[in-house]
């Protein structure tokens, strides 16, 4: 461990908070229809877009209409992306398929489309060997923007459900009240939030050496006298939204470990910021929209404490090295000129802290970008991403998804805590009753259900085990890879403990390639189910909360904006996550962390 390492973690947390506060205020203005400094520039294109889509946004939607619009939009997006990916050669006339790549097989396409639609960006394929520039830009990047916007929209709709105060005279239990307009939220998110910030990030990355071109791949002979190919492409523009939208799907196979995606320590820092920026800002947005900023601070504190805890554990574990490395007599201590610790699978230019922190940043969120090889982490260091995923992506989480997911946990904590202070539980003045608890319980059930169920299917069947390369992984390592694959897909994260495959590709360009149908379909359905079921539950919660009358808080009301509640909330999140995933984690990362034997 080094001062630089700890300093990086602390500085990162401070810079993140400093940037998220003003962005949170700006986003609150965007979603409450207030004028922002971007209006002069964006108001006209915004209204033009509404006319193009053919929607009237002055009318609010109740939760069912909101959900219907969202599902319809997603369905169209799915079909469009599938069409683009399956007709890759058709678009060569644009000049954006310089390598003349063929389309990926149907099963891998199914998995990939579901993956990008759900903000997962799980990739069974390598970008530079599979995708044309056209597919990356017109297909994947579009979903990187809109899937992020969908997540944020749901979060904003849920916030409105919580904070909207329908006057007694207008309240009508039979009538469902508006939780906003999906199309407006979608368009405003893309125009006012995602595009401008992506632009800034892309420019920063470009300035540091991240490439942006439409060139053919370059061929050269390296110092080892072997002919090599250097993949090219419009990377910087794709990279920005990959991180900002917590998507994580790499342009290149090695993702953010590739120098053209992530060139140095500065870009690494900016990329980590880009990932957490919106999830963190949304929490402040939430506080502002409730009218009590402390509500936002309490949730922020919860997330930040858990985040720092995860970062500390991961960093300490990696800096210490694994038992197996100690057994083998490898040097793991800090010595002159080295950082010590476990450098296997890490880039020299990021070091242990830069890799450990990046790993935590991308696994607490649903980003799934990687700048180091997760499977090469130590047992405990590698258990951290497992633990982060087990917390169901509520520690900042994906853009939007993190907030609406943690709000479900907040309602659960409010329910338990509310009972313990002797009142019908209330959150921001609204009573949490049977219907909300039913939806919350279902919402929280989804991740464990889909992750554990899919892993069980994959480990128990021959078709599932076909995805494991038994030549290099067996026992707990093979189990970890499988569990991580489905945990990642169920959490819409997308990062991987490499090794679990769903695509066999003998040469670049997809000729002669085939997918592993079982893994592709199971993963695809897992992602779709684990994305849309919680969205529907969150919107339904918004729909029931919006109709509730608001009771003023008193001394007898449990406060949700003080340290006691933060402790309770952390307790609930950790307990639910631990109780659900402890047995499974035991057989993967924990076994590996406890043994000197290498698998």
């Amino acid at each position: 461990m080094t001062v630089y390492g700890w300093g990086l973690i602390v500085v990162f947390a401070l810079v993140l908070t400093a940037l998220a506060l003003p962005l949170g205020r700006y986003m609150a203005a965007v979603y409450t229809g207030q004028r922002t400094f971007m209006d002069p520039l964006l108001a006209r294109p915004e209204h033009l877009l509404y006319r193009v889509i053919g929607v009237r946004v002055d009318r609010g939607q109740d939760w069912k209409r909101y959900a219907t619009s969202l599902i319809a939009f997603s369905l169209v997006g799915w079909l469009l992306l599938y069409f683009i990916l399956r007709t890759q050669t058709l678009w060569s006339f644009t000049g954006l398929n310089p390598m003349g790549y063929h389309s990926m097989p149907w099963n891998v396409a199914f998995n990939t489309v579901s993956s990008f639609l759900t903000n997962t960006n799980w990739q069974y394929y390598g970008g530079e060997t599979t995708m044309s520039y056209f597919s990356q830009m017109a297909g994947l990047a579009v979903q990187n923007f809109v899937s992020a916007a969908v997540g944020i929209s749901v979060a904003v709709a849920l916030i409105r459900g919580i904070v909207t105060h329908v006057a007694t005279s207008e309240r009508d239990s039979a009538k469902a009240h508006s939780i906003g307009n999906f199309w407006q939220d979608l368009v405003r998110t893309v125009l006012y939030v995602l595009l401008p910030i992506s632009l800034i990030i892309a420019l920063i990355l470009l300035s540091q050496g991240v490439i942006e071109n439409f060139s053919r791949y370059l061929s050269f002979t390296g110092i080892t006298h072997i002919a090599q190919t250097l993949a090219m492409g419009p990377v910087a523009s794709q990279e920005a939204i990959k991180l900002l939208g917590t998507n994580g799907g790499g342009f290149f196979n090695t993702n953010s470990a590739h120098p053209f995606e992530n060139s140095n320590g500065l870009t690494n820092f900016v990329e980590m910021l880009a990932v957490l920026l919106i999830p963190a800002a949304l929490v402040f947005t939430y506080g502002r929209m409730t009218g009590n900023r402390r509500q936002g601070y309490a949730i922020y504190a919860t997330m930040m404490l858990m985040f720092l805890g995860a970062a500390a554990v991961c960093y300490i574990a990696e800096a210490h090295g694994s038992p197996a490395q100690h057994v083998a007599g490898l040097h793991t201590a800090v010595r002159a000129g080295t950082t010590g610790g476990n450098m296997e699978g890490k880039e020299q230019r990021f070091g242990i802290a830069g890799s450990a922190l990046f790993n935590v940043v991308t696994t607490v969120t649903s980003c799934g970008a990687v700048n180091s090889a997760l499977e090469s982490f130590t047992g405990i260091g590698g258990a951290v991403p497992f633990a982060n995923l087990s917390a169901s992506e509520v520690i900042f989480g994906g853009v939007g998804t993190g907030l609406y997911s943690i709000l479900l946990y907040v309602l659960l904590a409010v329910f338990l805590g509310g009972l313990m202070v002797g009142r019908t539980p209330e959150y921001i003045g609204k009573k949490v009753e049977a219907r909300e608890i039913k939806l919350v319980a279902l919402g929280i059930l989804i991740t464990p259900l889909s992750a554990l169920f899919s892993t069980a299917l994959a480990t128990a069947t021959r078709a599932g085990r076909a995805s494991i390369d038994t030549a290099i992984a067996h026992g707990p390592q093979a189990f970890s890879e499988t569990l991580y694959a489905y945990l990642s897909q169920a959490n819409n994260n997308g990062s991987a403990f490499a090794g679990y495959s769903g695509f066999v590709q003998p040469v670049a360009g997809n000729v002669g390639s085939h997918g592993i149908t079982f893994a592709d379909l199971l993963g695809g359905f897992t992602m779709l189910f684990a994305r849309y079921a919680p969205i529907l539950f969150a919107l339904a919660v918004a729909g029931t909360l919006v109709n509730k009358r608001v009771s003023p808080a008193g001394l007898g009301t449990m406060r949700t904006d003080n340290p006691t509640f933060v402790v309770l909330l952390i307790g609930v999140i950790v307990l639910v996550g631990a109780l659900t995933f402890f047995p499974a984690l035991l057989l993967g990362p924990i076994v590996q962390g406890l043994t000197g034997h290498l698998y």
Binding site: T168, F415, L416, G417, G418, L419, M420, V421, G422, R423, T424, P425, E433, A434, E436, I437, K438, A441, L442, I444, L445, P448, L449, L452, F453, T455, A456, T459, A460, G475, P476, A478, F479, R549, V550, S551, P552, G554, L555, G556, T557, M558, R559, N562, F565, V567, L568, G571, L575, L579, F582, P583, A584, L586, L587, I590, V591, L594, T595, H597
Partner: protein
């Protein structure tokens, strides 16, 4: 008019508290044991999903054991038959313990109900026309005559006569009470005994729906419906059960992948240990016991929903008179207006009060005697009594064409002004002075002339300020309701320490206040007894009617206080809160317990997984942090702990978690510490201790 009152000496148990029926009473314990077996019926268990899962597990393990014994040992995996048998027995015991908790709670209620039922003897009612009819055949609107020594055959309103009635059977209070026609003390309850005189009662109930019937149903829990919070908690518990079913079901293939075959018996044990059996087992007992605690405080809640709502109360409306103050505002001084002698004022005030049987009225008559004025006999004076109404806020008599009135200052001024009189300038001063001093001024007028003011003094009851401080700490604001003018109200409000007051209250104003508070999202509780309280009682979220009140009030409220003690509301709120706290605390405890159970059962299951030596200890065996003897003893210990924690917690669920009127944050911290952290730690100790016993037994 006969005014015989039988004032029996107050004796017997202290009023307002029924004794808790001990769970250790032999008959209750025997009945509870029997019921806990009867309740094993799956049709009963299915209503409680958590315990139903346990019962299913018990059935499966029992079946496995039987198969093992009868020559199919393979069905038990590697497990010996004794292990399967032990687990099966403890799973059955878990369900039985849960049933026992419920049966005990019901048993206590039933014991209360039996006492009540014994009062519902065969009564023959004498109808007004002289015919007789069986009590249970009486219908609403029937009129019956009840004379001294007879039981009142049903709930109703006295329409004729006055009598002293022994209501000790339902209230526990041995002193007889007066029931008379008209006014606010006209309601009588079936099963109570008339001690003197004769009354005519109009029955107000349909057969089988009497007060007594409802009370019996309530305490027995026969018609208990789940309250909203209980339903929500039930859903959460089912959700958790579902999650753990997935966790345990997927552990089988995970184990096989790691080369470890986990037996059904052990998997079922793990499932039962994880699902929230503790709270699942005690949930209904907690609800029944909450109702029982209210009944012991002599409060009848007409629904569990009302009890729960009382924990949510934000605003308490309390009548000043009789609740906050002693209530007997006594005349202490006559203040005549210029040109009127004190004696003249005293005489008119006395005449205007002669027919006024309120303590205030009587105190005026008593004070007037000091001026040498003897009591007049109204019947000889062609006098016509004008009763007090909430609208006129005056009372008095009409004698020989003269209208003598006494009443609230502005009401009297308005009357005098309406008749063309001019109230003297000093009047307003005097009224304000008295009100400012905390007294109640009663203006006295003869036709259109104001003669003076009677100074009534009232005192705040002792200990009220502390009670209001307590309520404030609980987050409840108190609003004092009084017919007094603003100044008087303000003075007394400050003295008593209430948060707010409503002065010059009329039933309409009271109702409006409640609506206003409710529109602002607050839950309102109030007490009332009079017929004119009925609309407000019905509007309030928690309306407690005094048993001494009218039938209308009793029907409008959702609780009846048999002691007719208006400060009882504070206790009711506490019971409501305690009910929720007990559920929340035990849920937290139950979930927190799971951590230790994992550390007991999982290392036991995976003790030799990935062991380098075949059959030796694998890496996961280091997770056996409790140092439990061997795998089977570990699983058994966890299950035994899981089972016996239920009976150990029965007392807490029946008594309720202790509640202190501190703010919500302090309460939350305290309960999180006790039931959250305690729930984490307790099973580590408990399971270890049990393992020491079990392991040694196995080793022997």
């Amino acid at each position: 008019m006969s005014t015989t009152t039988a004032q029996a000496p107050a004796a017997g148990p202290s009023p307002g508290r029924r004794q808790a029926v001990s769970v250790l009473r032999g008959d209750i314990a025997r009945r509870a044991l029997r019921d806990s077996i009867i309740k094993l019926d799956p049709r009963v268990q299915v209503r409680n999903p958590v315990m139903f899962v346990v019962e299913l597990g018990a059935v499966i393990t029992s079946g496995t054991w039987i198969a093992q014994v009868f020559g199919q040992p393979a069905l038990g995996g590697h497990d010996p038959a004794w292990y399967t048998f032990t687990i099966a027995i403890w799973l059955w015991l878990t369900v039985i313990f849960a049933n026992l908790a419920e049966a005990f709670a019901e048993g206590r209620g039933r014991a209360q109900a039996d006492t009540l039922r014994s009062m519902r003897q065969q009564t023959v009612a004498t109808m007004q026309d002289g015919s007789t009819r069986r009590a249970e055949e009486l219908r609403r609107g029937d009129r019956v005559v009840v004379v001294a020594g007879e039981l009142i055959p049903g709930d109703g309103t006295v329409v004729e006569g006055i009598a002293s009635v022994d209501e000790s059977a339902i209230t526990g209070e041995s002193a007889p009470v007066i029931r008379e026609s008209g006014g606010d003390r006209s309601a009588v309850t079936g099963g109570t005994r008339v001690l003197s005189d004769r009354i005519v009662v109009e029955i107000t109930q349909e057969p089988g729906q009497s007060f007594l019937d409802r009370m019996i149903n309530l305490v027995e829990g026969a018609q208990r419906r789940k309250t909203p919070n209980e339903v929500a908690l039930g859903i959460l518990l089912s959700g958790l059960t579902l999650i753990f079913m997935i966790v345990v079901a997927t552990l089988r293939p995970f184990g096989l992948f790691a080369g470890t075959n986990i037996s059904d018996t052990t998997l079922i044990s793990l499932l039962v240990a994880l699902i929230p059996t503790t709270i699942g087992a005690l949930l209904s007992a907690i609800g029944i016991a909450g109702m029982d605690r209210l009944v012991r405080r002599n409060v009848l809640a007409l629904s569990g929903r009302a009890v729960e709502a009382s924990g949510d109360v934000d605003v308490l409306l309390l009548d000043k008179t009789g609740t906050i103050t002693i209530g007997n505002r006594l005349a202490s001084e006559f203040v005549p207006m210029p040109g009127v002698s004190e004696v003249e004022l005293a005489e008119v005030a006395q005449l205007a009060s002669l027919a006024d049987e309120t303590p205030e009225g009587r105190s005026i008559v008593v004070l007037a005697k000091r001026y040498g004025i003897r009591e007049h006999d109204l019947t000889q004076m062609h006098a016509e009594f004008v009763p007090f109404t909430a609208q006129t806020r005056m009372s008095g008599v009409d004698i020989d064409g003269q209208r003598l009135r006494k009443g609230a200052g502005d009401a009297v001024i308005a009357m005098v002004a309406a008749e063309g009189g001019q109230p003297p300038a000093e009047l307003r001063q005097t009224l304000d002075r008295i009100a400012g001093e905390g007294g109640t001024p009663l203006a006295v007028a003869r036709d259109n002339q104001v003669l003076g003011v009677v100074y009534l003094k009232d005192t705040v009851k002792e200990g009220m300020r502390q009670r209001f401080d307590q309520l404030r700490a609980m987050g409840i604001r108190t609003i004092m309701i009084t017919g007094d003018n603003r100044l008087t109200a303000k003075k007394i409000a400050a003295e008593a320490g209430v948060d707010d007051f409503l002065a010059e209250a009329t039933p309409e104003k009271k109702l409006e206040l409640i609506r206003e508070q409710q529109a602002a999202g607050r839950m309102v509780a109030m007490t009332g007894d009079g017929t004119n309280d009925a609309p407000a009682l019905a509007q309030a979220d928690v309306g407690v009617a005094m048993n001494t009140g009218t039938q209308a009030a009793r029907e409008a409220g959702n609780m009846v206080d048999l002691d007719s003690n208006p400060t009882k509301l504070i206790e009711i709120v506490e019971v409501g809160k305690q009910l929720l706290i007990t559920r929340g605390a035990l849920t937290t405890f139950s979930i927190a317990n799971d951590v230790a159970k994992y550390f007991a059962i999982l290392p036991a299951i995976f003790i030799s997984t990935y062991a380098t030596v075949r059959g030796g200890k694998g890496p996961l065996s280091v997770l056996n942090v409790m140092g439990l003897g061997d795998p089977r003893s570990a699983v058994i210990s966890a299950i035994v702990f899981n089972a016996i924690v239920i009976p150990l917690l029965i007392p807490i669920s029946l008594r309720g978690v202790s509640y202190r009127p501190v703010g919500a944050s302090a309460l939350l911290r305290r309960n999180l510490l006790i039931y959250g952290l305690g729930g984490l730690a307790a099973p580590f100790i408990g399971i270890k201790l049990i393992d020491l016993i079990v392991h040694n037994l196995l080793g022997a």
